[in-house]
């Protein structure tokens, strides 16, 4: 579904943060992305959620070559991608509810049409009491859960999560990972960047490792038990 071939990425005139990165994500696959701080995980994810074009190399999304893709085709493609940003990037002047409803509203849904769906999801991540609070009054973990709810509200084809469990306790972390796994089971291709070795060990999924800009597969997909 998504293929990277010899992709290089640099910011401006700086050094290459990513070098000759090649991998592919099959539809419905689940990958972890690990690596030391500053290795380029967020940079790679930015390419995956179409925030940047690569400096070189081939990138193919949903069967289309990014290099020849017109700007006007990007919005439709981005709506198929849910993103949990490392720093959440919530709208500070909107409530948790409004933040989570935004992707649906962008797709053209009316306010009343989305209410049930948004409330259900916010309850699921344990925020039924904080639904109408603004991000400034939420704890780090609560913000993170709002960010996750916003990323998955659309049932995206691709879910990209950057350290999605960095600010929550182990119990909530397991709960959130469970949400990702459930989504993955119904077909959402998932990439989760994390430092959390425990998390990586708890779920049997292939691991992509980044080190000094080079990507390698450090745990191969296991086809023995679940059907990915």
């Amino acid at each position: 579904m998504i293929t990277f071939e010899n992709v290089g990425m640099r910011y401006g005139m700086g050094t290459e943060i990513l070098q000759d990165v090649s991998f592919s994500l099959e539809k419905g696959s689940f990958h972890f992305l690990t690596g030391p701080s500053g290795a380029g995980k967020t940079t790679l994810l930015k390419l995956l959620y179409l925030a940047h074009r690569p400096s070189r190399g081939l990138v193919n999304f949903f069967g289309k070559d990014l290099a020849t893709l017109h700007r006007s085709e990007l919005p439709r493609m981005r709506r198929r991608i849910g993103v949990v940003f490392q720093d959440f990037r919530l709208f500070d002047h909107l409530t948790a509810f409004e933040n989570v409803a935004l992707p649906l509203r962008i797709k053209g849904a009316k306010k009343i049409q989305v209410a049930d769906h948004v409330e259900e999801l916010l309850s699921w991540v344990g925020l039924e009491d904080r639904m109408h609070a603004k991000p400034a009054t939420l704890s780090g973990g609560e913000k993170q859960r709002v960010a996750i709810a916003r990323a998955v509200i659309n049932k995206p084809d691709l879910l990209v999560a950057d350290e999605p469990t960095g600010n929550v306790d182990p119990e909530m972390s397991r709960r959130l990972m469970h949400l990702f796994v459930e989504l993955n089971k119904i077909g959402t291709t998932t990439v989760v960047a994390t430092h959390d070795a425990e998390l990586v060990n708890a779920i049997n999924a292939p691991v992509l490792s980044l080190d000094k800009g080079k990507l390698s597969l450090t745990r191969a997909p296991d086809h023995s038990d679940e059907g990915q």
Partner: protein, 292 residues
């Protein structure tokens, strides 16, 4: 007209708060310039209409007997000319009144030789060849001088045209500066709201959705500024014109715009709003096109 609107921009009263005021001031200047140009136009037209229906003949000769002989001859000739409604000799008291601002109030028998003035009213429909009339006057009364005010009127018209051109240039410059200010404001707004815009893009919002949020905001600025500017302009024009009419007509024909012009003036806020919004739209669109 709007399609779907999604106001995702935070309210930032503090940052863009000055824009409506600037637009208001610009509109105020515009309205005053337009009103002045229109007033000059109507004033000159009214004036030239008055002057065209009316010529003056002066008989200037020192000897009193000769003066009245030539005046009688001129009067006879003028009254026989087709197109002349009536020709009357101004009484010497009237002539005194005309020259008194320059000479002061002097007794009439001071022996000052005043010219005789004949006021000639034209019927306005018959075309009169002023040059031929002047020549015939000269033949019967050599001291008679025909003044149809044309030279003076031409100068006034020229001055009025120049003034109107200047005012048009002022309006054009004000409009251009308004556009420039809106562009600057809009660029600043884009920079301030770079983060929400980026997130909206990443969530798959089209440029049009983002543009519309800015459109609505700048439309509001434009309407606010427009109403404020036109309000002040109307108050100013009304005050000036009522002060001028207290002074008596003729001085300023009247700065108070006629009803057709008032409607025109009242449409200016709409114009300001549309100008502001379109400028913002073009600025935002071109900025968005440079993003991924």
């Amino acid at each position: 007209m709007w399609g779907r609107t999604l106001q995702f921009l935070p309210n930032s009263k503090d940052r863009e708060g000055l824009l409506p005021w600037v637009i208001g001031v610009m509109l105020f200047l515009c309205a005053l310039s337009v009103a002045s140009a229109v007033a000059i136009g109507t004033g000159v037209e009214r004036w030239s209409r008055d002057l065209a229906s009316n010529v003056t003949v002066q008989v200037i000769v020192a000897d009193a007997d000769e003066r009245s002989r030539q005046t009688d001859a001129a009067l006879t000739l003028l009254r026989a000319t087709p197109g002349v409604e009536h020709a009357t000799l101004l009484a010497s008291a009237d002539v005194m009144a005309l020259v008194s601002p320059w000479l002061g109030d002097m007794p009439i028998d001071a022996g000052l030789p005043l010219p005789n003035l004949i006021d000639v009213a034209l019927d306005g429909s018959t075309q009169i060849n002023m040059q031929a009339l002047d020549e015939r006057l000269k033949a019967t009364a050599p001291a008679a001088r025909l003044d149809d005010h044309q030279a003076w009127l031409a100068q006034i018209l020229e001055l009025a045209t120049v003034l109107q051109l200047v005012l048009t240039a002022v309006v054009a410059m004000v409009i251009l500066s308004t556009v420039a200010i809106v562009i600057f404001g809009c660029r600043a707004g884009l920079a301030t709201h770079a983060e929400p815009i980026a997130i909206m893009h990443l969530m798959g919002a089209e440029d049009s959705v983002i543009c519309r949020a800015f459109d609505l905001r700048y439309l509001a600025h434009g309407i606010k500024g427009g109403i404020f500017g036109i309000g002040f302009a109307v108050i100013t024009l009304w005050t000036v014109s009522s002060m001028a009419s207290d002074l008596g007509e003729g001085l300023v024909s009247s700065l108070a715009p006629e009803s057709s012009v008032s409607l025109w003036l009242l449409s200016l806020p709409l114009f300001a709003a549309i100008l502001t919004m379109s400028t913002a739209r073009l600025t935002v669109r071109s900025a968005l096109r440079d993003m991924m």
